[in-house]
């Protein structure tokens, strides 16, 4: 029974990681930049989720608003942070991104207080029996459904639409794509919108699962999402999704079986370092 419980916990955690990591891996594929400030968008999503739900009473409205607003903020992060730095070495953009991330944690604290916010009456708390003897709250089930739905939606877009094909072409070679008539800037803005909106959705779901948003809620997922996209093979979307799921499951087993030696966060990085020693290019290298 414990085994099944741990697997389910791992899948839920993995679904959240996947939603966050998608945006990071899209940005890396297009710009070759580690987008640390992505985690601030995750936190912003959480705040919008709590504030709109408490204000309007509708969780669905909150989720939609969060995705839309965070998506737009994500697009502006491209304009403000990365666009002027594209000709510099990636390290410069990385440090600028970290600077914005540090500053944003303080902004959240100044605007919303240091102690965090909670849902007045947390929605989706009814327990559903998914397997005989195992029941989960609706919120936990929704996390997995949302992740599978959103991610397969993007997968469908990438394969079946002109826009998706143009986006994949831009990842492979921006110059050739541009000379074939692809508007590279639109692809970049679109990718920032989708990736950020998904991080916003993840923020809302995490705020619901913990019934708490606080200024620092983005820091740990941000480091782990970086580990995930490296683990998956930088820029590989499929690799990032596999790595998210693997990490979710390994963490949930790891905290039980090696928790007395390592804390939860270092289990993720121990796993990362072990994999990189065997496969320095990550699980699935970009073809």
């Amino acid at each position: 029974m414990l085994f099944v419980d741990l697997c389910i916990q791992g899948v839920i955690q993995g679904a959240i990681y996947a939603l966050i990591a998608l945006g990071l891996t899209l940005v890396y594929g297009l710009l070759r930049i580690l987008h640390v400030a992505h985690a601030a968008l995750f936190t912003l999503g959480g705040y919008i989720g709590v504030l709109v739900t408490n204000g309007s009473g509708s969780f669905l409205l909150a989720l939609m608003t969060a995705m839309l607003v965070v998506g737009v903020v994500g697009m502006s992060s491209y304009t403000i942070i990365y666009k002027p730095l594209l000709n510099r070495t990636p390290l410069i953009a990385l440090i600028a991104s970290i600077g914005i991330f540090i500053a944003s944690e303080e902004l959240f604290r100044i605007f919303f207080g240091a102690y965090g916010l909670s849902y007045v009456s947390p929605p989706l708390q009814v327990q559903i029996e998914i397997l005989p003897g195992i029941s989960l709250s609706q919120a936990r089930v929704l996390v997995v459904i949302l992740a599978v739905g959103l991610l397969s939606g993007v997968g469908w877009l990438a394969i079946n639409t002109r826009m998706g094909i143009a986006a994949r072409a831009t990842v492979v070679d921006p110059q050739i794509a541009a000379s074939s008539g692809v508007n590279v800037e639109i692809i970049r803005y679109g990718s920032f919108f989708i990736g950020s909106a998904f991080a916003g959705a993840a923020g809302v779901m995490v705020s619901l699962l913990n019934n708490l948003v606080e200024p620092t809620m983005g820091s740990v997922p941000s480091y782990k999402a970086l580990a995930i996209i490296v683990l998956g093979g930088l820029g590989s979307v499929r690799g990032a999704l596999i790595a998210s799921l693997a990490l979710g499951i390994i963490e949930s087993f790891g905290t039980i079986y090696v928790g007395h030696l390592l804390d939860r966060d270092s289990i993720a990085f121990a796993f990362l370092i072990m994999v990189l020693m065997v496969r320095p290019q990550g699980l699935l290298a970009r073809g």
Partner: protein, 281 residues
């Protein structure tokens, strides 16, 4: 007077710490997001020995030794990964370090180690010791910079593959950079432990690793004098502006972003620009 001495000692330790990362990231071009782990290794080694009765100055040697030993292991591991993979691997090192320390009763666990004995020669003595350590390390790095090793580092940081083609033993020089850099961080850690006399896992986390990388980059990657200036400035900033204490991280974050956005070559780049402008005039 005590306050000024404490501030100056902190600055000296920050300068030493930044100079040590400058060898790895600046000279040799290997990005490290986990340098605080080596500060921690030095601090813990020195603190444990000092509590066992070993005189402070003697603990410097094992502190540098253990930091360099772990640095060598990380260096060997990092030979397999490059660029962004290396950055994230070194980030993993700092999380592993704090994760392991948190779970070890022997190392004080979450609570850390308190009651580290004060050095026999008082606060001024510690300041003088720190300055001497900075001076020694500074001379050593200037010597490296001017030697053939510095030339090899340059070529590796410019283009690793070409360096290999030119017959430079890239792994050997990378490992040398890691040993020199991490032992410097170990020394800074030993000084730090005796300066604050209380250390815990939170003093050596990812944020500290980023702060020291910021010092190197704001100074101008690889520039010794730029790094000294920026390390002294950034480490003293919060202490001189107590007023902004509440907004310290906000200012710090925006400063990092602003520096990268408007002066990506750091203080060194700015100074060069000014001198070129004056030459033209």
């Amino acid at each position: 007077m005590t306050y000024e001495i404490v501030v100056l000692t902190n600055m000296a330790i920050a300068v030493l710490f930044a100079l040590s990362l400058n060898v790895i990231t600046g000279f040799c071009g290997q990005v490290s997001l986990g340098h605080a782990a080596f500060l921690g290794i030095g601090a813990y080694t020195s603190a444990m020995l000092s509590k066992a009765g070993v005189p402070m100055v003697i603990t410097f040697i094992p502190a540098m030794g253990t930091a360099a030993l772990i640095g060598l292991i990380v260096g060997v591991a990092s030979l397999r990964v490059r660029h962004d993979f290396l950055a994230i691997t070194t980030m993993g090192v700092v999380f592993l370090f704090t994760g392991i320390v948190r779970k070890q009763e022997l190392l004080g666990g979450e609570i850390g180690i308190a009651g580290i004995p004060a050095p026999d020669f008082g606060r001024i003595g510690l300041l003088v010791t720190s300055l001497l350590c900075v001076l020694a390390y500074l001379l050593f790095t200037i010597w490296i910079r001017r030697s053939w090793t510095g030339f090899a580092f340059d070529s590796i940081s410019e283009d690793e593959d070409t360096a290999t083609l030119l017959g430079i033993n890239v792994p050997k020089f990378k490992l040398f950079a890691f040993i020199v850099g991490t032992s410097g961080a170990g020394l800074a850690g030993a000084l730090y432990a005796h300066q604050v006399r209380f250390i815990g896992p939170d003093s050596f986390g990812f944020v500290e690793s980023i702060s020291v990388l910021a010092m190197v980059i704001v100074g101008g990657i690889g520039s010794i004098w730029g790094v000294i200036l920026s390390a002294a400035f950034l480490s003293a900033l919060p202490q001189f502006f107590q007023v902004i204490d509440d907004y310290k991280l906000l200012v710090y974050g925006l400063l990092l972003f602003g520096a990268m956005r408007f002066a990506p070559d750091g203080i060194d780049g700015l100074l060069r620009k000014v001198s070129r402008w004056r030459a033209v005039k």
